[in-house]
């Protein structure tokens, strides 16, 4: 753990240094003559209109919201895939004994004595894992199908969806809200 932490610190320092040192050297080499036109925001050569800290398209937010959840769920796939992959390797009867022991040891997190999982047991473990992920993945897919059906995945939204039309036709303030 300390090993990893040290490496992170080392690489962060290296990354910062890699950028900082040339910039510091450049400070003695490069001109620094800012003027009004240079420090202005570029907007195709015209004077800028308004601030750029504006409201941007809500669609970006929807995508982010949808897919952060998706991303987090995928993160749970990784440990599962590890166990399932090992179980499937053990389920192979052709696996040699030494490899079987080593993989079993990893799967059982440091058992007291040497054990090796039999192909049959590994097959059962694999099957359990399969149904586990089927349920987990199924829930994810149902959510995905729902979002797709609702039209949240469409980048170009139909301007007149039925709901909006209904609201604008009746033109009642209560409905519009």
């Amino acid at each position: 753990m300390a090993n990893l932490l040290n490496h992170f610190l080392l690489f962060i320092l290296a990354g910062v240094g890699m950028l900082l040192v040339p910039l510091l050297i450049g400070r003695f080499l490069r001109p620094k003559l800012p003027n009004e036109d240079k420090v202005a925001i570029y907007e195709c050569g015209e004077p800028t209109i308004g601030s750029s800290y504006i409201q941007f398209d809500l669609r970006f937010y929807t995508v982010a919201l949808l897919f952060i959840i998706f991303d987090v769920e995928i993160a749970f796939f990784f440990p599962w895939a590890l166990v399932y992959g090992n179980a499937m390797q053990l389920a192979d009867t052709g696996l040699n004994d030494r490899a079987r022991e080593v993989i079993s040891e990893r799967l059982l997190t440091a058992p007291q004595e040497a054990v090796s999982i039999t192909p049959e047991a590994a097959q059962t473990l694999g099957l359990t894992g399969f149904f586990d992920i089927l349920v987990f993945f199924g829930v994810l897919m149902v959510g995905f199908a729902y979002v797709w059906k609702r039209g949240d995945l469409d980048w170009i939204r139909a301007v007149g969806s039925p709901d909006i039309n209904a609201a604008s036709n009746t033109a009642e303030p209560g409905d519009a809200a």
């Binding site: 490069r30 907007e43 399932y84 389920a91």
Partner: protein, 416 residues
Amino acid sequence: MTPTLADTATTIQSILQGWSISESLAMFLAAVIHVALVAGFFGLPAGIFIWAERKISGRIQDRLGPTRVGGKFGWLQAIADGGKLIQKEDLVPEDADGPLFRVAPYVVVVSSLAALMFLPFSDGWIAISLDIGLYLMLAVMSLEVIGVILAGYASGSKWALFGGMREAAQMVSYEIPMSICVVIPIITAGSLNLNEIGGLQSGHLGNWIIFHDPFSFLAFFVYFVCATASCKRAPFDLAEAESELVAGFLTEYSGFRWSFFFLAEYASMFTVCGIAVLLFLGGWHTGIPGLDGILDGPRYGSDAYVWTWLTNALGFGVFFGKASVLVCVQIWVRWTLPRLRIDQVMMTCLKYLVPISCVLFLGAVIWPLALSFSGKTTIWGTPTGERAAPTMRLESISSPADQSPTASTSNGETGP
């Protein structure tokens, strides 16, 4: 266990201490050399591929590309550009958020450099070999997007803001099919340790995970498309999109600060291609049965150190060659296909790549289970030595005796 780069650093440290340098100074120097070795891999591919991109794009467009700097082929062009850029004024717009504007390239560079620390360039040439290496690597690599969003937001320019936001939307959506496709080789290999995944693919061509089953074959291509998009390379370079957004998130950047976004881009192109090579294309193995045996062969005897070093160097050459071919494909794609529109980019991912990768995932899960229940072997092909090489590697990893010490531990192993 084959010496990792951390071991090399320890060795350097012990040599330096032999020269009656104080312990802390030796530790510092060893750490510097250790990180410089990896940082070299950050700068070197970037330099090579920037030149390669110019030459290839030139040829594709029936031009010559750079021809003057450094002789006939202009191979010093990237260095000449660096020399030019360092003299350019470092402008920060008045309306920009100064500190954030300055910090953004650091975030990009640090994340794409730190991702390299989990990438095995060869069997032993890895900064830090972890059982969760692949996962951490993907996590660190995706931090790069924060730097891009920061650059877009802090620039105070509308073009930059749009570029940054597009990048954010694109990245979060393309991460999904990419991660699903990464899970498929993990199921095959049963490991998250990149060294192990690479080691499992020794023997012959049939042992490469891409040829393991039809799903992993297709997963490679889906992964490659997503990897191209995650490096914001054309046809997915919506964040820059010169003809629409001026230069997207880079609009207000200039000089050296600007160039580091590109260095990081090329470095992460190399990184994602390196992951593709390790996960699907056999890592540092040639795919030729006899040669792979040498690469994985037992390393003992008096000249073990030299032997290991040589095989690692050979492995590095193979790995770098494979990754470079993939990078060249990315370059080729960039100069061949026109840029997609933002709605097309999002639709490609959400409505095509995500469902495709989900189907591939399910297929890859069912495949070994079906094989196992029909009494067939779940390991395709016949690895030379009956999986001897991976077993040996597993053995060496699980033995706690020679856990490789870091550059920062004080007493190191003896030199060669």
